[in-house]
Assembly symmetry: C2
Homo-oligomer: 254 residues x 2
DNA sequence: ATTACGCTTGTGGTCTGACCAGAATGGTCC
DNA sequence: GGACCATTCTGGTCAGACCACAAGCGTAAT
């Protein structure tokens, strides 16, 4: 598994900007979201009709409808037959994947969202690593070791560790045996992929992270939830401090 | 907020079956999923072409594409231009909302999924109620009290408490101040809506649940995370035993 | 003035048929 | 055997049309 798309391997490994112009073809949804946000529409407000939106964005109704269907499944809008398309209370009703989609479109998380994601990730992963230590089986350990071996190779080759780091963490969650758990955490990793590539662009971080992963693996293999949780806690603290510094820097004016 | 669609209020309050014939118009996705499952396609396998699928399901290519776009955003399939539509490793890569969608389509959760959802819900809500007790503000308490008042009224009127119960629990999560947290938990409640209506169809459960909610509210208002967590833990235990009994009954042959 | 009816308009939902660029394929030629 | 090229098939997109239905509005009857 791990990464699926080829991708330009590693761009100029300096940084990934996370704010690329999104090609020139800017996916339709990527243009719809700013449009909605810019109009300051309140939840419950009606959007322009499909025909009007299609014309305004210079696409056919079919393409527009496809985009709206996606926004509907993410619970951002609601389509009422013979009536219109209505905005929903995104913060309360929107799905986690709505944020994932925005991230994939290059729209950065707000400061609040960053803090919330960091907090929730800690909650989930601390609990996951405990359960993993209690339940891991041979296949789980093999997955962990495979991810670790791949990481070691990648570090030696100077590759960006972002995806392999994710693979390890997801292997931990998978070791809980709870696949719904895995789905949720996977969304979080998709959410922060761009930023995590930036995180690991600093070559110093990869070896430290890897060492902490090794400690975690041992605790899991030994079946010691407390030690595993402590290891994960310390590991996350490092990542979280990165995020917090990022926010402070942005608060000071980038 | 709470419920959005009218719905027949409360069907014959005996049970909700969770396996309705899905009207006659059976949404296209609701037919696509069984088709994929029935063909025993492995992750990575290619689906028939859009044209072929459209013909097979008796719909236009546009309608078919809309459905595929939804499945793609839920990370169940992957569309590769000029190549085909490919199945993804749903259990590992699929989104939480994919399960929500299935539930809304009337497809019941597997036994494994039920156990996983129950476990994850406990993890999330225990942590949520702790944070709520630490951070709640006036607006949060007002939301909790509003939900409680509505519940009291509904119990008196003999209405099904499912949605108001959800409103209370979501108000607890909202009191954490973490909106991403709220999104995740909200998905869980959407996921089990039908079953929860069945749960509360037993009129005896509503008053007990309400009393437990009151205790939780007090602990949150008092700012006592431990007591709040204990209250939530006991409350969840009741719900979980319902689910486990359901599974056992199904295991014995419905 | 008030009510009841019916037409017009606008909406999402759907279908048809067509074109495009790019991959995948398979054959041909060197 | 390997490089090349034409054909086929794919998703992606478009334009134009029809449908059922809700809402609004005007008219007609009360």
């Amino acid at each position: 598994m791990q990464a699926k798309s080829p991708e330009p391997a590693i761009p100029p490994p300096g940084q990934d900007t996370a704010a690329q112009p999104l090609d020139e073809r800017t996916s339709l949804i990527g243009r719809l979201l700013p449009f909605i946000a810019h109009r300051r529409l309140e939840p419950g407000d009606r959007l322009p009709s499909e025909r009007e939106l299609a014309e305004r964005f210079g696409v056919s109704r079919g393409a527009l409808r496809e985009a709206i269907a996606v926004l509907e499944t993410l619970r951002m809008v609601e389509r009422r037959p013979n009536s219109g398309i209505y905005l929903r209370a995104v913060a309360k009703q929107g799905s986690l994947d709505a944020i994932v989609l925005q991230a994939e479109l290059g729209i950065p998380l707000t400061e609040t969202e960053v803090r919330e994601v960091v907090e929730l990730r800690r909650i989930l992963e601390l609990q996951a690593v405990r359960l993993a230590a209690e339940r891991r089986n041979e296949a789980d350990l093999a997955r962990l070791d495979h991810a670790l071996a791949e990481s070691e190779r990648a570090i030696g080759a100077g590759e960006n560790l972002a995806d392999l780091d994710a693979a390890f963490h997801l292997a931990v969650v998978e070791a809980t045996g709870n696949h719904v758990f895995l789905r949720v955490v996977n969304s979080f990793y998709l959410l922060s992929r761009a930023r995590r590539r930036h995180y690991f662009a600093d070559g110093q971080r990869a070896p430290l992270s890897h060492a902490q992963h090794l400690a975690m693996r041992d605790a899991i293999a030994a079946g010691e939830p407390d030690r595993a949780e402590a290891a994960m806690g310390g590991h996350l603290r490092g990542v979280e401090s990165y995020w917090m510094e990022l926010l402070e820097r942005k608060a000071r004016g980038d």
